[in-house]
Point group: C2
Chain length 221, copies 2
DNA sequence: TCTCGATATATCGAGCCGATACATCGGAGC
DNA sequence: GCTCCGATGTATCGGCTCGATATATCGAGA
């Protein structure tokens, strides 16, 4: 589990960091959290939850004391509420601090960004700039590819390629705005790059400085 | 094979409609053709080619007469050139004429659009409008979802959702332009809605009227 | 009461990717 | 001429993920 992407693990840990939940609720919030970036199905979520329990990152809060229907078969399938263990909390912090090349690949960037509110400013900057350079490489390849094959395809195919290209260009502009905002919000005090394992701070969301992303006005109704 | 998406089958048939090719070349062109819409790996392509041969849609042009190295093992693995059979050509025409709901889902729309140059105008219109209404449904859901969860997430998460929303909005605007162009290019003669199985027309690309998609100017260098 | 949809957990077949292996060929460098 | 290396070329395997499906409860409404 989570050998390939680890995206789901990260997202689940992050959501359960706020509040305990059961799978059904978790999946709904998951697909809202990640927006149009990614969606997961039950066939992926439930095995992942099991794996996270087996790894010790999650604990099943089995509320046998609470309302259990149990009218049916002896197996009595009731709600299973998952809660983050101490190891799970620590694991989430580790994932938050990761600013390696993986963090700005297609599959990972969305989740990392979704939790930027709990991420150090230095990590945020590295991830944003890494993502941008990644997309600029792709842009270069797409442009030369379109230029090379301009004569070989009909107009609709070229239009599809052009549209894809502009999507990536828009993505880069978005990143530029974000980076610019990060730079503008740079206070005099640099973010404390603590590698200690959550020693003193017992607070849940230790965001001392509000990041304030761009686009204060929602734009349209 | 090709039970779920059929995208690869469609794209392979369409590319081999123009010229015979071997797998390696096919994959390169495939990933250019579909732009940023989709990419396929060898692990998907080669089994699909085998399946298409087994179904009788492709023929292996094994050029034993041409240069065969054969210095190595007795199996002598040389180039395998794939060519469209008559059944394959007919299959491609069928896929081109498909304007059912599947044609405007996420997985299928890109390929269908890539071959719009060989598609009837009536089918093009149905697919574009179907796609647009599909995205507008999604837009509605995303908007209400963001409105409902505005207070539950931090600013970066909301920014991610907003950006996803604007991506879909941009997609709808793009479709609007395309549909408008289709309408403007509507000549007096309606496209012959023939359901016959490619009876008279032996021509390769039977595009009698040039579709002329929007954005004549490439915009930027 | 009976149906229907939302809530809730779980599994299975099949598609698809990434990595990898194997083999050839043309060119760069020596 | 020689070797190394990257592009060309075909092929497979492990495993992640999806869509469909099965099962069961609950609240709302006909």
């Amino acid at each position: 589990m989570s050998r390939r992407s680890g995206v789901l693990e990260f997202a689940v840990l992050g959501l359960l960091h706020d509040a305990p939940m059961h799978g059904y609720e978790l999946r709904k919030r998951l697909n809202v959290l990640l927006g149009s970036f990614r969606a997961f199905s039950y066939g992926t979520l439930y095995p992942c939850l099991k794996s996270l329990v087996a790894q010790g990152f999650l604990v099943e809060d089995n509320p046998d004391t609470e309302y259990v229907p149990a009218t049916a078969l002896n197996g009595k399938r009731s709600k299973i509420v998952y809660r983050l263990s101490a190891e799970g909390k620590q694991r989430f912090e580790e994932l938050l601090a990761d600013s390696g090349p993986d963090a700005w690949e297609d599959e990972h960037f969305g989740v990392h960004f979704a939790f930027f509110g709990q991420t150090d400013r230095a990590v945020r900057m590295r991830v944003l700039e890494g993502r941008r350079s990644r997309l600029e490489e792709r842009l270069e390849r797409m442009r030369s590819s379109i230029a090379r094959t301009r004569e070989r395809f009909d107009d609709y195919t070229l239009e599809l390629q052009r549209h894809g290209l502009e999507s990536v260009e828009r993505e880069v502009r978005w990143l530029n705005e974000l980076i610019e905002t990060e730079r503008a919000n740079r206070t005099g005090r640099p973010a404390a790059g603590d590698t200690s394992t959550s020693d003193g701070r017992g607070q849940e969301a230790g965001s001392s400085d509000p990041p304030r992303p761009p686009h204060d006005r929602p734009g349209r109704s």
